[in-house]
């Protein structure tokens, strides 16, 4: 029961670079909850050298999400088989920031927290989201004039739409029903004449993110053969 709630909490933790839940990516190696309410979660990644900044964010986010589940008395979230496992696991357990986590580490030290990095990847996700949301409309025959005039409230509800709204909200970009479907990085509506190129850019962004995800899934399956689907 509590374990299900912990798993649902892990569903809300995203790989910031791939913009996919760590549960879908098979990054959760094990998840158990003791009768005393201690949740023990072990994460794993596609390679020994996955970038420590993104790795840290996932472990820290998982710790926060699991700790907030009612009935969980303590969260023990660790990363396995990674070159910075010791630093990351110690830092997250101590609820230290990224800088403090790597202070004095022979891996090298960090000089800044990761908020700006996270936002940069929200920006990428928000652009890719425009392709995910608009592509079915294009396929159904919507032209540049129609797409340029369209607001989010006119778009059929979907998971992709909800996610794009969330990413825009985090960035302070228009995300309500009256927000334009297609916007530039500053939130301005894309004029009709620029719609085709804008959609090309959005698609490139989506292909970039999704191709990265495919590499990661392939490498994870090679590293942990039982994980192959």
């Amino acid at each position: 029961m509590i374990r299900d709630a912990v798993w649902r909490a892990l569903d809300t933790v995203y790989d910031p670079e791939l913009d996919e839940p760590i549960t879908d990516l098979d990054f959760v190696q094990s998840c158990t909850v003791s009768p005393e309410g201690v949740a023990t979660v072990r994460l794993r990644l596609p390679t020994f050298f996955c970038a420590p900044n993104f790795s840290f964010l996932m472990v820290a986010d998982a710790y926060d999400a699991v700790s907030a589940v009612p009935g969980v008395t303590r969260a023990d979230v660790t990363l396995a088989d990674h070159h910075a496992s010791a630093e990351i696991n110690g830092g997250v357990a101590a609820q230290a920031g990224f800088v403090q986590t790597f202070a004095g580490s022979d891996q090298g030290e960090a000089v800044a927290e990761l908020d700006e990095l996270r936002l940069e990847f929200f920006r990428k996700a928000a652009l890719a989201g425009q392709d995910r949301v608009a592509r079915p409309l294009v396929d159904a025959g919507a032209g540049p004039d129609e797409l340029a005039a369209m607001n989010l409230g006119e778009v059929p509800p979907s998971d992709d739409l909800s996610r794009m709204r969330q990413r825009r909200e985090a960035l302070g970009l228009p995300h309500g029903d009256d927000a334009p479907l297609l916007i530039d990085a500053n939130g301005n509506r894309i004029p009709s004449a620029q719609v085709p190129l804008h959609l090309r850019r959005a698609r490139l962004q989506r292909v970039g993110i999704e191709a990265n995800g495919e590499y990661c899934k392939g490498l994870l399956a090679a590293r942990y053969p039982a994980a192959a689907h």
Partner: protein, 360 residues
Amino acid sequence: MSYEKDGEKYYIVDAHSHFWDASRENWKPGREEYAKGWIDCFYGYHQLAPPETHWDYEKYLKVTPEDFEQDMFVEGYVDKVIFQSTYLYDWYTEGFNTVDKNGGLKDLLPKYADRIIVNGRFDPREGDAGLKQLEEDAKKWNLKGVKVYTAEWYKDSRGWRLDSPEAYRFLEKCQELGIKNIHAHKGPTIWPLDKDAFSPVDIDAAATDHQDLNFIVEHAAIPRIEDFCFMAVQEPNVYAGLSVVLGGLMHARPKFFAKVMGELLFWVGEDKLTFGSDYNIWTPKWQVEGFVDWQMPDDEAFTDYAKLTTATKKKILGLNAAKLYDIEVPAEFAVDTTAGETGAPGHELVDDTAGAGSQA
């Protein structure tokens, strides 16, 4: 050597190759975990190739010159191979694949010496000593290209930018020495980083300011292919190296291979893509055969992407790189390519005016 299929002849330049030593004897004492972690990571990539091409782990750690000869020149169709070095002295006592180690194959395989092209390297943080070393390497190996790793840490520095004054000194030295191909590794890096270390944006100004140099961004900057394409479309002297794009996706993730190729062909163009097997991660044989047989799928999802012509494949597999490296290609293989020439950058795509044109 070269490759022939259905009456078409392909001149093969493997523009991204290595001859590495990851054997246990070369693992630096105290750093074994990293030396092993590094090669294990590569061995993971190796698994993305067709199963019949997989090697056992022991062979993967270190191949012999005879293996190289077999994989590259006997079975691999390769006419010219270009070595890109990776030092990694932190973990490998003798280095992972240094310029001298790669170049040493010329002596070990004298029969193929004229088919092996050795690239150098530089790191602007090494200052005057680095400049001197570059001069010596250029003389020793007749360098036409170098490989650079901008994300590498060095003493207190967390990487460097190709558009910095320090880097410009080295780029100018390259111009002086006749080195015209700058291969930049934009890809995974290993240390804790405070920002995104994959970003290829520093290529932009460096390429603008050095029009007579060619900047080949290796691995097409995966995992930041979008940043790369947005930048490359503006710069006539920026190229994409396809190593890892073919090796990592063509077999393992064919749909994504098609999408990535479709995007690269649109944004960067067929005259600016170069094949690299990334040996010893993968062998060239299956990549050359597979790519010649490959075509953009007919499914609805790919209709916006261009189909490949035989000429496209010939250029990518060898003729583009041959132009960059002044390799003389026999007439029977030749197809025109604008690689190495100054062309107009795609301002219409940059300024968002292409959309207006495509509506007309």
